[in-house]
Amino acid sequence: MTGATGFLGTALAERILNVIPDAKLILLIRAGRRASPIERAKREIIKNDAFNLMRERFGDDFDRYINSHLSAVPGDVSKPLLGLDDSGLDALASADIVVHSAATVSFDSPLTQAVSVNLLGPTNVGDAIKAAAQRAGKAPTDTHFITVSTAYVAGYRRGLAPEKLLRNTPFSPMPDFKTEVNVASQLRDEVERDSRVPERLEDFKKSARKELGAVGGPLLAQKLEKIRDEWVNDRLVELGIARAQSLGWPDAYTYTKALGEEALVSNHSDLAISVVRPSIIESSMIHPFPGWIKGFRMAEPIIISYARGLLKEFPGVPEGIIDVIPVDFVTGTILAVAAEDKPKPSTNIPVYQVASGSANPLRYKVLVDLVREWFLEHPLYDSQGQPILVPEWNFPGRGRVQKQLARLATNLEFADSIISHLPLRGERAELVTDLEEKKEAINRALSYVKLYGSYAETEAIFDVKNLLALWNKQSASDQLDFAFDPRLINWDSFVTEIHLPSVVKHARVKTTPDRKSTSARVDRTTSSILNDEFKVAAFDLENTVIASNVVDAYAWFATKDLPLGKKALFSLALMAEGPSLIASDRSDRGDFLRNFYRRYSKAEAAHLSEDANELFNSYLLKKAFPRAIERIRHHRRLGHKTILITGALDFVIAPLAPLFDDIVACTMTTDSRGRLTGNLDQTPPTGEARAILLGDFADKYEVSLSKCVAYADSSSDLPMLEAVGFPVAVNPEPRLLAMAKRRGWTIENWERQPGHSKLLLPIGKAR
């Protein structure tokens, strides 16, 4: 069996192992990077809750039973001969029945991947069966080859879609699959080349910088490469959809599946093949237990988006048919087909459509009403603990919905472009991440509409004569164990009692009004940081410990000896320079510091050191975050080592020395007369240099980086935050906040002690 880790595959594996004790199951599984195929099988299949009942029934015997009935061989359906080695081929030869259920089911998979898996996969399996049979000296027709396709290979056909190969169905366009494969295989190279032209790379760089900020070269390059990869992928998806739609299929999935059937019959009409074509597979009705589901599939995200009030409308015709089939009906069909006599090799391969549309149709409007009523009765709750009211569904055309969503997306994009340029921090930065989340939700909704809209609008009705004939042949007891007659489904109870509760459970959404206390969560994270276990805690300075920056400190020193009236003027003038200073800070922190520190040139080093204590006590301490200082001290009380890594000048931060075991700061060279030169004697510790420095300290204190804590406020500290086991984003700027939220990092919002004027001008008093 291939594709056992998938939704259908896992269900099938459970049925076989659970109900057919005589069967030995061999799985073809791609070898993971670390896990062997059998380990993967156990982790991804046997551990699944599908096996809960079986595990209970077997008790302590379960593992032994599984070990004696299940084996796995490494292989890959997209490779010639499935990439099987000799022992793999021998295992294949030993099989009486081969079920090929591996597919890339995501409708938006890139064309090249869809081609290699969906189109070539069945042919590759056929090739392997033949090669294995030859090795073992048996006839390839001894093996019954059941391949799982999809009912939607019918594409945009209207009316009854028969249970026949497309080549045997009138009015079915069928391009030459060899040409399609050739073109597709060159497509990736072309797109890859296209993604590397300078203008495009420049665009990628811009987006990378927008997302990360001044994180420094290596991380930026890494991000750029990721963005480029995504672009290539998106482009291939786009090309796949375009090509599919030009030929009468909604997407690359159905198109490659259809061509896969055609390739199979062209290459292997001399094998004993059956084709099973399910429609949209959803949660199980009976086996392994009602409502069982694996993974988050096509309909689920749409339903959840709707229930959360994000998706207000979805295209479709009210009287249209949504062809859904419970997963256990598909496994039942496959096993019934397997129990049949092997079909005779021919180009007229038997096809079984497992679909509900013709025998027991579920109308779109009925489904929508059921879903709406159910969520009115069982609402999800927003973060405030208020129930979310699901919107009324108007069945608009697809174009209108798309246009609406696209307009919304553009507006948000515009708002985002403005807000992301404001210097927001901490709690105010939430504004930006909220916007970000909204944008993501809209884009997701938009992609659902684009991708799945056609399924709701499909007008093909899938014939199930073969299926029903097969059903009628089953014994009463088999009908009980392997139900697959679509007429047995009561849609009302299936949707409201089985499917929706299961979807909601799997989506891990809020189904109760109680508000999660954030303080409890914060306590938990801080207790993982603040405990007796030895740690090294590194702190950034600006906006992490003190709401100040190198410009402030300079202004304070510079105004110290100015006459009273000019002090404020000077500070204000420097602040007016703010925007350009910020811009240069954003593009490269190191360059900014080097340039800015030139202003100190010719200052008396001794004077500045003397004044630093006053700067600290009269200005910096007022702008410090007491919670930050307390946190540093808390680490020290626990015996942790504390490190300050900052781009500030060493004499400025000297009064902070007692808080830290080590301090890394900028130092400036002096001339023979003890005056500062304005030049730093080393590169300022910024970006990835901080991560490296922290690594050195971790070595010094003989502790791994996973036991280090890093506190920082800006995305330029990303390398350091990423390097440690306990990253803490302090008063994060929007980009960092978004990243921290995604990655589940601890977020602290530390504030200045209230009581002083918010606007505290950096003005030094005359000596």
Partner: protein
């Protein structure tokens, strides 16, 4: 006409309302009929020739002491210690009385050929003074000639090389004071005795001592048994200091004590109405009240604070005495009581008070919640002799905005005390046992105390102990106009109006309680019979 003595108003229908301090502002509250409002005696006349009075005091010491000139000899070591910025409140108009006395002493020392002279601000565990505060206290002339040469010091209770262990009292209390002072041939201590707690042996034994020494009297047990700590002869705080004073004397350390007393002229002309009796306000006073209180409402608190802290008091000198500590101090007490004492008969169920923007520990800074607590339950509550103004189990209603605001420069350990200690418990005994040591020995607080302008790490604990007697005595405390969250953290309740506060108090004292209001400014002390 001689100044009128203290007065107790019985609130009746014609009563115009009472001025309550409310932090950086004030409001008029109407107390229920039958309440009593205690007003301080009017300001005593000040000495017409302060400089002459100072010279006279130095020439004619009281008690067992020679005149200063006799004590000054060429080649001697002289240390002049003086009270820090916590006195008087608000700071007085220049020249500060301390600067006049110091100049007089220095002049005599120069005449006698004394060359080794050091000035020490007697900080104890208070914050170091800023340059402008020091200049104000000692005068520019003294500052400019002593500070640059390192001869004007601020006492450093954490300098291990700067302290001398003197000995133990019969009770086993350790006495440790400034080494420079201990090794001097003479200490001249210059006091400003704003209230009866100040001065006496407390000057040197506390002002120049260390945590090691202070903890023997700055603790919960002592404070609960100081009834009150404003009443020298019934205060264990003072008994302990006096025992230490005896040890210092026995060790041969000579102290020439100079104490000064001030009258009640606390506020300059534009704020004079604050200390007038409300029914005697004239048109101008009313206009000033209305315009200033309106203006203050529209001013952000930090700005109002800056305005108030820039006020300088026109205090007048009512007396100066010099000589032997005990004899000098008895004279001082007499004069302080003459200015501040009001006879009150009987205790009430409820005591109300308005708390001002300033206390001893937030000069030029923020009155944080812990200081609000200390000012109300420590200072104002203890302004009594014999017995408290409010009965045991009674209710204290004090008016102050009590915002969650702290000065991170002056009061860093207060912030952590508020966040980490008060969030766990408000019980002084538990706080003392569980937390005091770690705050007192914390290296970061010590660093800030020694190099910055921070109160010592243990200081917020002392604030909490200062109120321990009141906490022990009272049934409930209600902060009128206070931030409810902050009040809760302090272990109290907050009420937005006086009527609400009285309604809340009824749970403790019934619905027809007797009410006494301690009117300020100016300061007064109640002799309760």
């Amino acid at each position: 006409m001689s100044p009128r003595p203290g007065f107790i108003l019985n609130v009746d229908k014609s009563y115009p309302g009472t001025l309550f301090w409310h932090g950086e502002g004030y409001r008029i509250e109407k107390l229920p009929e039958g309440s009593s409002v205690i007003y301080a005696p009017e300001s005593l006349p000040s000495l017409s020739d302060p400089l002459g009075a100072i010279e006279d005091a130095l020439d004619n010491p009281v008690g067992d002491s020679d005149p200063l000139d006799t004590l000054l000899t060429s080649g001697m070591r002289l240390t002049i210690a003086f009270d820090d910025v916590s006195l008087p409140l608000p700071q007085m108009v220049s020249p500060d009385i301390r600067s006049l006395i110091i100049e007089a002493v220095l002049e005599r020392a120069a005449r006698a050929g004394v060359e080794d002279v050091v000035l020490i601000a007697a900080l104890a565990l208070h914050r170091r003074m800023t340059e402008s505060e020091l200049r104000h206290a000692v005068g520019d002339r003294v500052y400019d000639s002593f500070y640059p040469r390192g001869l004007l010091l601020q006492h450093d209770a954490e300098d291990p090389k700067g302290l001398s262990f003197i000995g133990l009292t019969p009770q086993g209390e350790e006495v440790e004071i400034s080494k420079r002072a201990a090794e001097s041939d003479l200490i001249v201590y210059v006091n400003v005795n704003l209230v009866s707690m100040d001065g006496g042996h407390k000057s040197v034994a506390t002002g120049l001592s260390s945590y090691r020494s202070l903890r023997h009297h700055h603790n919960v047990k002592t404070m609960v048994h100081s009834k009150s700590f404003m009443d020298r002869h019934n205060s264990q705080l003072h008994s302990s200091n006096w025992r230490m004073g005896a040890v210092i004397k026995e060790a041969g350390i000579k102290i020439f004590q100079i104490e000064t007393t001030l009258n009640n002229d606390t506020f300059p002309k534009q704020f004079e109405f604050l200390q007038k009796r409300e029914w005697e306000w004239n048109l101008k006073d009313r206009a000033k009240f209305i315009t200033t209180s309106k203006a203050l409402e529209a001013t952000p608190p930090w700005m109002a604070r800056n305005i108030f802290h820039s006020i300088r008091s026109p205090y007048g000198l009512t007396g100066v005495n010099a000589g032997e500590v005990d004899a000098v101090h008895e004279k001082t007490l007499e004069r302080v009581y003459k200015q501040q004492l009001v006879h009150v008969s009987g205790q009430s169920d409820i005591l109300t008070m308005g708390l001002p923007f300033i206390g001893p520990y937030n000069v030029n800074s923020i009155m944080n919640p812990i200081l609000v607590y200390c000012l109300g339950l420590g200072y104002f509550f203890n302004m009594y002799k014999n017995k408290p103004l409010v009965r045991k189990g009674g209710v204290l209603i004090m008016s102050h905005p009590t915002r969650n605001e702290f000065d991170p420069v002056f009061h860093p350990s207060y912030i952590d005390f508020y966040e980490n200690v008060l969030s766990e418990t408000t019980d002084p005994i538990e706080i003392e046992a569980k937390y005091e040591k770690s705050y007192a020995e914390d290296p970061w607080y010590i660093h800030l105390y020694r190099t910055g302008n921070a109160y010592h790490g243990v200081h917020p604990f002392y604030m909490w102990y200062w109120g321990a007697h009141a906490l022990d005595h009272l049934g409930a405390v209600i902060i009128l106009g206070g931030d409810p969250k902050v009040a809760k953290r302090l272990g109290f309740m907050a009420a937005s109006t006086l009527n609400d506060a009285l309604a809340m108090a009824s749970a403790y004292v019934g619905t027809s309680p007797s009410i006494t209001h301690l009117h300020s400014p100016p300061l007064l002390m109640a002799q309760v019979e």
